[in-house]
Symmetry: C2
Subunit: 513 residues, 2 copies
């Protein structure tokens, strides 16, 4: 009855694609070239100006207006990477890079990314590639144990961990889960009453997530912090804000507490904050994007004391845990809240494993459906270095920062603006005192201020720009909202230590001795 | 006056980290090993069962309960990848993989990812690494021109392109932009009135994005499609739905039209749909995740005719354009709408370049702040293959599907359920006709159906499972909601062609001849 004919195969075999874009031997040849290219790049990295010195629009002048019609050899492309791309790169992996956050690259992280890219599985659910899901659950439990997270955050305690791209995504997912949990109780039409809380030091990821999740912009609270609290969010200030909102008929929803803020690595006191939040059924997310990693060292673990009463906790392994971007580790106590808010069950993804309820389908724990095999890099980092070395790395960074802080504080021309907690130093140059300024100085509860902060800021801005323009180091400067009473803005530097502090000290000596 | 002392440097130099986790020579040694590991994997890939055959929980039985305390050598780790991970991998890059969507890996895409990972820049804004932003704008213009997108989607026409991770993110960003544009006009308190439109064939990414953006779940419209329209969304059906919503006091907001649906690669008619949407100030997003790539071939370009009246357009280069996950290309006509909805301007990211308004800061075009250097992979793919070869690749995939469709349609035991448009074939096995069933058969506008579809579905499900369990090929089967009148569900297979069609024909012959 059938009519499938073997002879038809002859015709069909002719239509196989003429060239295999993933030819194994071509992959081998070009892959080895690329490894050498990158190894040479790392070897020579200090030869390049750390901060790119190009002007806006530089690349459009160098590249053609449209894509090439014919193929170009990899040799030509790599030459162009050298000539056209590298000048426009700010070298985040350079030992002279101290800006934004630490250089997080490592051999193990890179190799993990290669494996993830090489397998190129699209792991939306267990079925699509079981190892991707299972390895992720396992390494998230491993890392959770290293951090001594309470069992309720681990799979064995009915919580669980998931790898997101960034903290923004982690906050958006947990905020959406909290929002829907609340709206299912009080009714969808009350979405405009929901209030989100952070401090004036909280990362803007919270504001962005609130915007996207449809929280009324008027209901975003950035509770002011003070120098006397080390820029941590005070539980009392939080409670007053919440009470005022309830009084106004609003509904408190979500608190993002930070361990290691971006501006000064301040630590919000988790214990007292969770206590307040729990009184009002508020979802507490702990954003330990930067400093969370350090908590695998027993001496730093106390900074997340109180996390046992939070609902979710995240840290960025790509910030200070030796993986490349992107790798945000998120743990939640109540995965079902995430799943209820984020799941969809289209016909084309149905499968036996999902129906058996024996597996995790991570697509329902995140924004996107498709997802990369990110756990591979975390697994390689954990195994290649081991807990012992990872602690040593982190401690050495903290020690560098501590040494640098000591070095700078010996010189009266500098001020350590916020005492160092982890591996970041916050300092600034003080303006040379003039008799006029001295006599006009005033003091408030937050310390001594000069009336002409403007002059100090200008001086620091000039120094910052001259260091960054030199190409010898790249450091961050920012205007810091320094105390809510004084309303003064201070220009200061934020230095992240991960490679060394030696070069930077040399620069300061060159400039100042 | 100063007290920075050169002799202090001696102490400081001692505190440099003991081991460099990114040592160039160690990187070189291990990197070469990994390239060989992956090249061997691609060479041997057909030896593995395409779909992983493991049972839920297999990996937890093999791995230890906690991370190792001491470092382990890469040699051991790679052995474990072989023994423990590969059995749990579903081999998306195998020539025998026909499921979900095409195998999209390529040498160029992999090398691009290596460069992106190697530089490891965190490109939230122009300043943080100018080349990352500028290359992205340039290649998005290149690809936009290859697709003959109207100038209003290119930077030269005041629109612009951005690389997102996935379509989910692209839809969420554009939906958020549309939402805020509307709410700024009609008032925040009306968020519960906003309505989002798609068809019953639209990818669940739309539903997920609507959930996250706070659209009332009751206001999500999946307009039914019919076989007679080739499962495309009818403009008339859309208009009736919109009118009913307006009548009910709701506010039409957003339409997601699809070019190449997931279930049957159906194409929504962009021209007529945009005409309807434009009458009601509805934002139209065109999701061409899969089929968009084919539109760089002149003979397929007509499928996106009408895009000139849409507001945004996206395709996934990681689906059918030779880059690895993740790489979703999104173009918008009105970047300012995105920026208004998604921007945040924290103090620590302020810089001269941004203030000069001469640069693009892509952090304001997406959900997250941090972003990888994704344009590197698109640039390498475009240059390594050139427009000519890229078209050839795509055409060869379509030709394979066409040949397979012809091969199968010669045999009356099979039915081509939806005529093939691109490189996917939708077919099923018909149940052997029995006199009883023949006499009970009925006909409706959508074709002939047997009353015992259940039997047919069961038969197809068994064949599907036996093929997938064999490990020789992995194909997708799904229950297809086949026509809104008949309400019948049909089990069918979806095959994506990217490597070859030869092996699959062989399997069918083995089973059926």
């Amino acid at each position: 009855m059938g009519s499938l004919h073997v002879e038809d195969l002859d015709n069909i075999s002719k239509c196989t694609t003429v060239e295999n874009p993933l030819d194994p031997e071509e992959f081998r040849r070009q892959g080895h070239m690329m490894i050498d290219f990158l190894a040479d790049y790392y070897r020579d990295i200090e030869k390049y100006p750390v901060r790119s010195q190009v002007e806006p629009g530089y690349l459009r002048k160098e590249l053609p207006d449209s894509a090439p019609y014919n193929p170009e050899p990899i040799e030509t492309i790599l030459e162009d990477v050298h000539k056209q791309i590298i000048p426009g790169i700010t070298h985040w992996q350079s030992p002279n890079y101290f800006a934004y956050f630490p250089s997080s690259g490592s051999v193990a992280g890179f190799l993990g990314e290669m494996l993830s890219t090489g397998f190129n599985v699209v792991g939306f659910n267990w079925m699509s590639s079981p190892a991707a899901t299972e390895l992720e659950s396992i390494v998230m439990d491993w890392l959770g144990k290293m951090l001594k997270l309470p069992k309720s955050f681990l799979f064995s305690g009915n919580g669980g961990g998931v790898l997101q791209g960034t903290t923004c995504e982690a906050i958006l997912c947990t905020l959406t889960a909290a929002r829907d949990r609340m709206l299912n109780k009080i009714g969808r039409e009350n979405i405009c009453k929901l209030v989100v809380y952070g401090s004036d030091q909280t990362h803007c990821a919270l504001q962005k997530a609130a915007q996207i999740a449809g929280i009324h912009p008027k209901n975003f609270r950035a509770v002011p912090t003070t120098k006397s609290n080390g820029y941590g969010l005070s539980a009392n200030a939080l409670r007053s804000t919440i009470l005022a909102d309830i009084e106004a008929g609003l509904v408190p929803l979500f608190l993002c507490a930070t361990v290691g803020t971006t501006s000064s690595t301040a630590v919000d006191p988790l214990g007292p904050l969770c206590e307040v939040a729990n009184d009002y059924w508020i979802w507490v997310h702990v954003d330990a994007a930067y400093a969370g990693s350090a908590c695998i060292c027993p001496e730093f673990r106390h900074f997340i004391d109180g996390v046992e009463n939070a609902d979710s906790f995240s840290l960025n392994a790509h910030k200070w845990f030796f993986t490349t971007l992107d790798c945000c580790c998120l743990w939640v106590k109540e995965p079902s809240a995430l799943i209820k808010a984020l799941s969809t069950n289209p016909e084309y993804l149905k499968n036996k494993a999902t129906e058996s309820q024996q597996v995790v389908d991570y697509k329902d724990w995140q924004i996107a459906l498709s997802r990369r095999f990110r756990s591979m890099k975390l697994w390689l980092v954990l195994r290649s270095y081991g807990v012992a070395n990872l602690r040593n790395f982190l401690r050495s960074h903290v020690k560098m920062a501590k040494n640098f802080e000591g070095f700078v504080s010996l010189d009266k021309r500098f001020e350590i603006v916020v005492p160092r907690t982890f591996a970041m130093v916050c300092f600034r140059l003080l303006p040379p005192a003039s008799p006029l300024i001295k006599s006009n100085g005033y003091q408030n509860g937050n310390g001594v201020y000069h009336k002409d902060e403007t002059r100090a800021n200008e001086l620091n801005r000039r120094l910052l720009e001259s260091i960054n323009a030199s190409g010898s180091a790249y450091i961050n400067g920012m205007l810091f909202w320094h105390g809510r009473l004084s309303r003064s803005m201070q220009m200061l530097y934020l230095l992240h230590f991960s490679f060394n502090c030696f070069n930077l000290c040399q620069i300061l000596i060159l400039v100042f001795v």
